[in-house]
Amino acid sequence: MTEEIIIAGFGGQGVLSMGKILAYSGLMQGKEVSWMPAYGPEQRGGTANVTVILSDERISSPILNAYDTAIILNQQSLDKFEKTIKPGGTLIYDPYGITKEPTRTDISIYRIHAMDTAIEMNAIKSFNMIILGGLLKIRPIVEIDNVLKGLKKTLPERHHHLIPMNEEALRKGMEIIKK
């Protein structure tokens, strides 16, 4: 099994750290992983994206032109990446800030109101974990237990008290994602 994922949105939304948690979860599950950020001056306000590959085999290129799954968190990213999803692939997006809905008919499209939910939960920083929960509901590529282990690895010790809140956000994301 190989899952090639692009996560794209604004800098500061937690795009890179969501990818990192996913990569660590893959590591915990014994998979081959690669995490390739579009690094650079885009952070905070500009666009940010990261390619995450989880596989049972050795990963060749960390840079891809087509993805199994795209997680899209702003309009620019939807414009850029909708066309790069493989036929039969998956698009997950947060309608918050999306002005032109996706139009592809040969892929599965899911909506997740993660931003609104994060505000409701008074847990704006867990926004990316809500999205990740949604992804794992649709594409159960790693087990939740391994995500929590991955979270422990990525969060500095002083933030470990936030793990229960993140777990709640993950589960909320699994609840609210829909076609």
């Binding site: 990192k20 990569a23 660590y24 590591l27 081959e32 992983v33 690669s34 995490w35 390739m36 950020p37 690094y39 650079g40 001056p41 990963i59 060749s60 290129s61 960390p62 840079i63 891809l64 032109n65 087509a66 690895k153």
Partner: protein, 359 residues
């Protein structure tokens, strides 16, 4: 064993591997996309454990000259930077080569010329293998294509540098520096004691003993006859390295009718291109030079009898392609495909280029 599998960036792997291979000192100056090397070292604080010194110098030029000083005393020292910073180091690198000092330089390349861009590039191939600094010298040049190789090549580069008393360089790029992958870090090796250094490096300037002459570390020699002999000695050494230290990797080459030649991150993207092209029924293979100098000339020449044509895939305007053409000496068509200024090609683009240029 499993607890030793870590997930980290290529730049972080360089830092960890340096500490673990018994390095005595790191001297650097921050620049994107390699800043995590210095950052990681500062975070780990190895001076508290192994005694390795880590210093942010006032400039790249200061850093490379600190490396010269450290190496002159037989210490295992390195510096790292990215393209514009490595340009600043060139004078010091030429001096290291001239004085025959073992040291490690890491270049995590970004797009140039000039300040250029912070995005990945491989446009420092010429600088690395054809000189860069002045004079007839060579650097042992290793090109890692994974985070694992970033870790492994630190120890290897030091081994080669000390074996031949020659500076070595790890030529990486923004992709390999910034990506995270699984890595098994090398085991801890203690730093050498002063006695061990004196034994391994009898040439080192560690304080004159009564039973020997002074050791002099210099690249200066005003008598041309002596200087010519010194150059001849260097050239003989380079020949020995060329005969013994060529490293490369072949991927799906046995039945190949076409050949990609690519190093570093480009080789990874080409691997995917090979997989995709083979799914279309195109028999293409990949030869990945691991040492850019010494270059795998013979290995490439061998494929001139097997394949119809070759494509050099590099993130530059066509640099390594010249060495491939020299290797095949006109026997087969060799073309170049590249992207410039920090743009990285996708596997599909490479396949299209192959169809357009060499099929």
């Amino acid at each position: 064993m499993s607890e030793e599998i870590k997930l980290m960036k290529g730049n972080e792997a360089i830092a960890h591997a340096a500490i673990r291979c018994g390095c005595d000192g790191y001297f650097g100056y921050p620049i994107t996309p390699q800043s995590e090397v210095l950052e990681t070292l500062m975070e780990i604080e190895p001076w508290k454990t192994t005694g390795m010194n880590v210093l942010q110098a006032e400039s790249e030029i200061a850093a490379i000259n600190m490396v010269y000083g450290g190496a002159g005393t037989g210490k295992k020292v390195l510096t790292s930077s990215s393209s514009p910073g490595v340009s600043l180091k060139q004078e010091g690198i030429s001096y290291l080569a001239g004085a025959e000092l073992p040291a490690l330089i890491v270049n995590v390349m970004r797009g140039g010329p000039g300040l250029g861009t912070i995005q990945p590039s491989q446009a420092d191939y010429f600088q690395t293998v054809k000189g860069g600094g002045h004079g007839d010298y060579r650097l042992i040049a290793l090109a890692p294509a994974s985070v694992q190789e970033m870790a492994d090549f630190v120890g290897l580069a030091f081994d080669l540098a000390f074996k031949y008393r020659n500076p070595a360089i790890i030529l990486a790029d923004g992709v390999i520096g910034q990506m995270m992958e699984k890595v098994v870090l090398p085991p801890f090796k203690p730093r050498r004691t002063d006695e061990e250094i004196e034994k391994e490096c009898p040439w080192a300037a560690v304080g004159k003993k009564k039973n020997r002459e002074r050791n002099v570390i210099t690249s200066l020699e005003l008598d041309p006859a002596v200087m010519e002999e010194r150059n001849n000695h260097l050239q003989r050494k380079y020949k020995t390295i060329e005969e013994n230290e060529v490293r490369y990797e072949e991927y799906m080459c046995e039945d190949a009718e076409y050949l990609f030649v690519a190093f570093g991150s480009s080789a990874r993207i080409c691997q995917k291109a090979v997989e995709l092209a083979r799914a279309q029924g195109i028999k293409v293979g990949l030869l990945r030079p691991i040492t850019l100098w010494p270059f795998p000339t013979k290995a490439i020449a061998k494929y001139a009898d097997q394949v119809k044509s070759m494509l050099s895939v590099e993130l530059n305007a066509g640099q390594m392609v010249e060495d491939i053409r020299l290797a095949v000496n006109g026997k087969v068509k060799v073309e170049h495909f590249g992207r410039l200024g920090g743009i990285v090609y996708t596997p599909d683009e490479i396949i299209e280029a192959m169809k357009a240029k060499i099929m």
